[in-house]
Symmetry: C2
Amino acid sequence: MQRSPDIDDAPSLATLGPAARGVVRALLLGGPLTRAELARRLGLSPASLTKTARPLLVSGLISEGAALVSEQRGRPGAPLVLDAARHQFIGVKLTADEVFAVRADARGRVDVSQSVQIESTEVTAVVAEIVAIVNEIGGDHRIQALGIGLAGEQTRFDDTVRRNHYLGWDQVPLAQLVEEATGIPTVLSGDARALTAGVQWSGPGKGMSELAVLTVGVGIGLGIVLEDKVLSGPSGLVGMIGHHRISDSGPLCELGHRGCASSYLTTAAITAAIGVPHGRVDIDLAQGCALAADGDPVARRVLADAGRALGVIIAQLVNILGLPAVILAGDGLELLSYAEDSMQAALAEHLDPVARRPKVVAFTSGFDEWARGAAVVACQWLLDPPRHRYTRP
Amino acid sequence: MQRSPDIDDAPSLATLGPAARGVVRALLLGGPLTRAELARRLGLSPASLTKTARPLLVSGLISEGAALVSEQRGRPGAPLVLDAARHQFIGVKLTADEVFAVRADARGRVDVSQSVQIESTEVTAVVAEIVAIVNEIGGDHRIQALGIGLAGEQTRFDDTVRRNHYLGWDQVPLAQLVEEATGIPTVLSGDARALTAGVQWSGPGKGMSELAVLTVGVGIGLGIVLEDKVLSGPSGLVGMIGHHRISDSGPLCELGHRGCASSYLTTAAITAAIGVPHGRVDIDLAQGCALAADGDPVARRVLADAGRALGVIIAQLVNILGLPAVILAGDGLELLSYAEDSMQAALAEHLDPVARRPKVVAFTSGFDEWARGAAVVACQWLLDPPRHRYTRP
DNA sequence: CGCTATTACTTGACATGGTGAACGAAAAAG
DNA sequence: CTTTTTCGTTCACCATGTCAAGTAATAGCG
């Protein structure tokens, strides 16, 4: 080819074979790597890497960097460099009253983010809002894929919104609708799954093959990673941990459960529990934490109870699945400031005596993390090796 | 070694390539199948099946049966038949005081079983006992592989016994020791994992891609199947559910937990809970159930509480993992007779409102089911596609 | 300086497992 | 007897991966 590869001239990741995708994935996760190192990580022979890397090099998708200063004895390897910024993705977090979108590169680094309130949850209106924000945020960039995260029962790399309580939708082929309007390949994802994918791809869980992401905020969410894959379950109904009973006594949740996780941990539950004894209904979580900081016994107790609930849930997860790490996220994470001790105590108490204590990490992030996760899902979707299913003509 | 070229001359399953293994696995699970049906189940083209089946046919590993009476319109397919009985496996369940072994075919059908008490848990003594029982039970049959199940933290297709509380072992290369003494390829497995494999391969969970097996007896065990694979976790520590707290009040378990699962569900806990109020220490589970049948209020209450504990655990599993089915097993299962109602009630109460209610199946079986599971693991191990990891010379 | 050990990469022959397209075979339906 | 439908085969071809042998570049060392 004569002309130098223009910036948007690189082939789409979707056209690559499974072997090349594996290399791209490893380069995205591991920065520049030599062929030898790639071969080791992917469990392939050096010969395979020579063969797989060549077409990627000639197509301009990756390039060969200067050899590093050698620490080894032998011939230094030539690092293969993948410019992640040349592969842009858009992630959308869809709720019943807002569309939040980010544009991120293949490593999940966010470039732009934007949000818009929506008035109607009617399908065509929502699709129009998504299309508008995607076009705006996409700008001139070529977008490889679009991921949409929403609360509900989505399976892995889904395309249809099944019965969705929040939006009032049922069997809406949202991916197809958006794809037709934007021309960008689109995939749906449960929001907890998306957040978890983001955390594991390029967040605090990067490189961990097994972990759970537990979110607190309006509700309680859970995403589980096993063997490097985010669990989706056959029906997409996974991680419904919000109403696990923590104790026999305790507050009531909105479903009438006494002492369930939601009754201890949702932001509404915490602010109510702190506000009511003080005769105040307008307290928010920050104020509640401030009260605890001032030594207010009610706030202290409520947050300690919340921490205890967190600890119990973490212990259950680790007992059942043997997870080495649990990451806490969500906008209700503020509560941890005065809940961490009781969380750790409850974790220690409820962990099985032979289970290993997991690493518990608090991951403070903005709301865009949900949309970023959706972008990561879109990227993982493109890189997912086509699952070799013959379909008869 | 010289062998008469008779029926046992078929090639070992271990020599097959991944494609052929897939066909064999499908034939083991699905009885005789035509090439067309195999192609559909494996997601392959008809051409692939012709190619893959041929060497299996000429080697005699499978044969072509007579065409079935046709219900379809077109040409009837020729079913491919695999004689599972020609592939024998041995499964061993190892405890601190007993070695229990079965010989089963590749479909997990048990032919012979035998057990022996062991006096010493010294490694060489135990290995000798295993070798003796394997040789005896193996007879003249060619044994494809040997699986050993034991309580402890074994990873998937393990070969070393790590720190094992029951046997007092640490870092014992048991698989290698037995393999050297018997000449049979040997693999280790956690006992819950083995039981679960047996249940899903050819037990009541046959064909289910997602399920959990919950055992009650001396302890509480848990095995989880996700996407057709039994979960093992990175460290082999999975399913440590025995000390999950069920209620704040309740009996004490041997670790001092009040109201944990073990305190409600182990056979010892139940018999003690029934026996003590009656001033009897020698009650066994059957007698306890008999008392309940006679209307004894203590026994009724204890069994109802046990059922409630079961229901809570099942609900937790289903909430977290979205499992469509849970299978109950173990020698303590007798308790279900007067515990099922409370179990169902607790399950309904603790299940998340949006989660789907799982099928709960009681699977009554003998102790040989544990060893049978180990034999199934051995078979699955042989059929596991060599996981394509290049190892440098 | 040149030799050796070590590590990185390439080359080409080959194996495996997969596909599509064209075709032949056997049954039911009409 | 023809059509339809489904099953199975053949053959050319592709993608991925290995092995064995060789080339390339570096550090260490006499």
